[in-house]
């Protein structure tokens, strides 16, 4: 286990290094100039030049990258060009909210997706199965912004069950998590359905029936843990897919997460923030995958950590 973790950590560091390099390179060749954004519209050529030199943006690419890396090693993610604040402070202030939203979002999509998938598998070929299939495609095809606004409008404005956006209490989390989770639930329900159909054909399910167990116990205790395995691996992948949705959901619900931070930074080429958010996200994805890999053997003892 320890050896496994060590190996994975080394791998993860290499992955993060790769991510940082690619991002830095992409931002370097991006046809937009951060200095122009800092200097503003009244700046003289002299001012622009000064700022460029001060930030070291006139240096060759590898020098810049090396400087960034050496800062990073010392825990320094740099300062935002436009906010003139430590990137680490900015991210630290917003990360908890994003993690909370992601966690809740994943729970939502699992809860909705898995139950839809299981029901569809049990009703395979019947009308309800087809209705659920259409529902899952609706979930996948619905634009997130519209879904978010619709949820907000119906459940917060019209019904008043939840606050209209904001952050703080448990009731604040519900709608954004739902908005974030709906798309994924479509995917999960399709995957869960096929995985469940496979499992229900297995011999041990017949054994469970022969033992005289109730149907619900057979489904929940015997079929589900087996069927959920391929889904677990997806959760790691999911975090990356979530990032796109976060920007939308966070802005509609006024959720103070890193999605909004990243969004504004991209608009204005605030490279240190983009780098910081990218690395933090990559970390989250790597950790998510690691967790998925660690959880898998807990569910299925046949899987060995290698």
């Amino acid at each position: 286990m320890v050896a496994y973790l060590l190996r994975r950590i080394v791998q993860s560091v290499l992955i993060l290094l790769g991510v940082s390099f690619i991002t830095f390179l992409l931002l370097y060749v991006l046809p937009a100039d951060p200095v122009r954004q800092i200097a503003g519209r009244s700046a003289t050529a002299q001012t622009v030049q000064n700022i460029r030199e001060q930030l070291g943006l006139d240096q060759p690419f590898f020098v810049q990258y090396w400087r960034y890396l050496s800062g990073l090693v010392q825990g320094d993610m740099g300062r935002s060009y436009l906010q003139k604040t430590e990137v680490s402070t900015l991210i630290a202030a917003r990360l908890p909210a994003t993690l909370l939203l992601m966690g809740a979002g994943i729970l939502c999509e699992l809860a909705i997706g898995l139950s839809m998938g299981v029901v569809a598998a049990l009703r395979r070929g019947q009308t309800s199965d087809q209705a659920l299939m259409i529902a899952s495609f609706v979930a996948v095809s619905a634009p997130q912004f519209v879904v978010s606004l619709l949820l907000l409008y119906v459940f917060a404005v019209q019904l008043g069950w939840f606050p209209i956006g904001g952050y703080g209490t448990a009731s604040h989390v519900v709608l954004p998590a739902l908005a974030l989770g709906i798309m994924g639930s479509g995917w999960y329900s399709r995957m869960m359905r096929s995985s469940m159909i496979d499992v229900l054909r297995q011999d041990f399910i017949r054994t469970a029936h022969a033992k005289g167990l109730t149907r619900s116990r057979i489904i929940l205790r015997h079929a589900l843990p087996n069927a959920i395995l391929p889904v677990i691996a997806m959760i790691g992948i999911d975090i990356g897919i979530f990032m796109g949705g976060l920007v939308v959901v966070e802005s509609v619900f006024g959720w103070p997460g890193i999605g909004q931070l990243a969004w504004q930074a991209i608009q204005r080429v605030d490279i240190p923030i983009i780098m910081g958010v990218t690395l933090v996200t990559a970390c989250a994805i790597v950790i998510g995958n690691l967790l998925a890999d660690i959880i898998a053997p807990l569910i299925d003892p046949r899987i060995k950590l290698r």
């Binding site: 100039d33 050529a45 202030a93």
Partner: protein, 520 residues
């Protein structure tokens, strides 16, 4: 003191204002976003100020000032007994420190260029001096500023946020984080700042202007989608949607009398225009540019944005001094445009590109422009890009046409000169500049310089006439298509009090925090 505050105003209470974008900084030397501009104005004061809701200058931290006869030396007498939020009294040293700081390249202030007329600015800019030679502390209560050239706009410059007076010890203590821990002399002080969520301003009880501010606190909630902010306003949770009424909700609001009643409309010092790159053939021919001017159906564009603007005829907005009354501009005349194109040898039309920033409604406006151009045979491909990319393309001269929406010019101060230098003058027509037309007319430049050298208050009419002539000259060469002057539409909750003008304050967008109040 000409300005008479609202006699009905009651002190007390708090309001909630929302913004979509996070507040980047409250450092007056750095902040140049439209939402932190007015916030900084309420936390800091400069030597000069404006009457609320107007563009009329009034003294700020300076009790009075005198100008030398040549207009080159300004002596400001500071108000006594003004204290910073930290309790220390403000002195002339602070004024000098603040001006030195904003012009110091290490500060990376986007507003440093405004101080170009102060003596010693160039030495500051190239790093050879560490303070402005022209700014002298005479005594604790007096500061004398010497210019290197006459500058009629100088008092306006001193009213800019960039000229705000900051507390030296607070700057030194906070270092780079001053923007998050601002200390000024303003009507409000920063109470709480939860990054990414909210800022709370608290009333500065020791504010040197009597009676104001009225509000005990202002809460700015950031990261709020405009559509949602409006829903919250309708629900009574928000008092002012900082980003205004979103286009998608505009008609809904206006068609409901109860809501329409709380909408405030006002002009702003804004012009939306298309830049035509004079270096890009065939637009290097003035006739082609004039033809393009005649091809654009401005009324239709105004209709597309639900009538929230008035068609423009010239670069200056109507409320700006120096605006040429009675000038009709290029009327909508596709046939005339075609004829002119033919005359310029472009009868078959040509293909070009129209850059536009990618936020609603700009791509829509660009498509309307595209169609109008198509009618006279010009095939303009739209490049709808992120703001930074459009700015890059404009600054390096690769964009033949740019619809300026979203990045259009809003004056920093109410003076016609502010609409010229960076965006139409030769200074701006450099790599990385903001003169995206790359228009450079030496004669007009000379006339502009001459106009700005007229510092005599008695000769202001003459100066304005000269500026009017400059802009008429620009229209002749037609490097721009002025399309419309956007009107500000904002909304307030029922409990908000204060004159409408305070809600469309031309210098304190979205509202003048110091003078509004709540009625309950």
């Amino acid at each position: 003191e000409d300005y008479q505050p609202d006699p009905n105003a009651k002190p007390g209470g708090g309001i909630v204002i929302t913004y979509k974008d996070d507040v980047a900084t409250l450092d007056p030397a750095i902040g140049y976003d439209w939402q932190n501009w007015s916030m900084i104005k309420s936390i800091f004061d400069g030597l000069m100020d404006y009457d609320p809701g107007t563009t009329d200058l009034r003294p700020g931290l300076a009790e009075s000032y005198t100008v030398s006869d040549d207009g080159m030396t300004f002596t400001f007498k500071l108000r006594g007994g003004v204290t910073f939020h930290n309790g220390r009294e403000m002195t002339a040293d602070d004024v000098k420190f603040s001006l030195d700081r904003v012009t110091n390249p290490a500060t990376q202030s986007p507003g440093a260029g405004f101080f170009g007329s102060i003596k010693g600015y160039d030495a500051m800019a190239d790093g050879s001096a560490d303070n402005l030679e022209g700014v002298k502390v005479v005594d604790d209560g007096t500061i004398e500023i010497t210019l290197s050239r006459p500058d009629a706009t100088f008092l306006h410059v001193m009213a800019l946020n960039f000229a705000s007076v900051v507390a030296r010890e607070a700057v030194e203590a906070a270092g780079d984080d001053f923007g998050k821990q601002p200390v000024g002399t303003g009507a409000y002080k920063l109470g709480e700042w939860t990054l990414g969520q909210r800022l709370v301003f608290e009333k500065n009880a020791d504010y040197w202007r009597d009676g104001v501010p009225y509000l005990d606190s202002i809460t700015f909630e950031v990261g709020q989608e405009p559509v949602v902010a409006l829903l919250r306003l309708q629900n009574g949770e928000v008092d002012v949607p900082g980003d205004g009424i979103p286009p998608a909700k505009f008609r809904e609001v206006m068609s409901d009398p109860a809501q329409a009643e709380r909408v405030v409309e006002g002009g702003q010092l804004h012009t939306g225009y298309i830049t035509l790159n004079v270096n890009t053939p065939p637009m290097d021919d003035a006739r082609v540019r004039q033809a393009i001017n005649m091809a654009i159906n401005k009324d239709r564009i105004v209709q597309i944005i639900n009538g929230r603007a008035v068609p423009a005829t010239q670069p200056l907005p109507p409320s700006m001094p120096g605006y040429t009354d009675g000038y009709a501009g290029y009327g909508f005349d596709p046939e005339g445009a075609k004829a002119l194109l033919a005359e310029a040898g472009q009868g078959d039309g040509f293909a070009t590109e129209l850059y536009v920033m990618n936020t609603d409604p700009n791509p829509r406006i660009a498509q309307a422009i595209q169609r109008d151009l198509a009618d006279i045979g010009i095939d303009a491909a739209i490049k709808s890009l992120a703001q930074a990319n459009v700015i890059e393309a404009g600054g390096n001269g690769s964009a033949p046409m740019i619809w300026s929406g979203g990045m259009a010019w809003i004056a920093d101060f109410p003076d016609p000169s502010n609409f010229y230098g960076p965006i139409l003058g030769c200074d701006g027509a450099v790599d990385g500049g903001w003169n995206w037309s790359w228009y450079c007319n030496a004669d007009l430049d000379a006339m502009a310089t001459k106009a700005d050298a007229i510092t005599d208050a008695a000769k202001q009419d003459e100066r304005m006439q000269m500026w009017s002539d400059v802009y008429m000259g620009v229209m002749e060469d037609a490097p721009w298509v002025p399309v419309f002057n956007e009107q500000r539409y904002t909304m307030k909750s029922a409990r908000m009090g204060g004159a409408d003008a305070l809600y469309v304050d031309p210098v304190s967008i979205p509202i003048n925090y110091d003078y509004v109040y709540v009625t309950e």
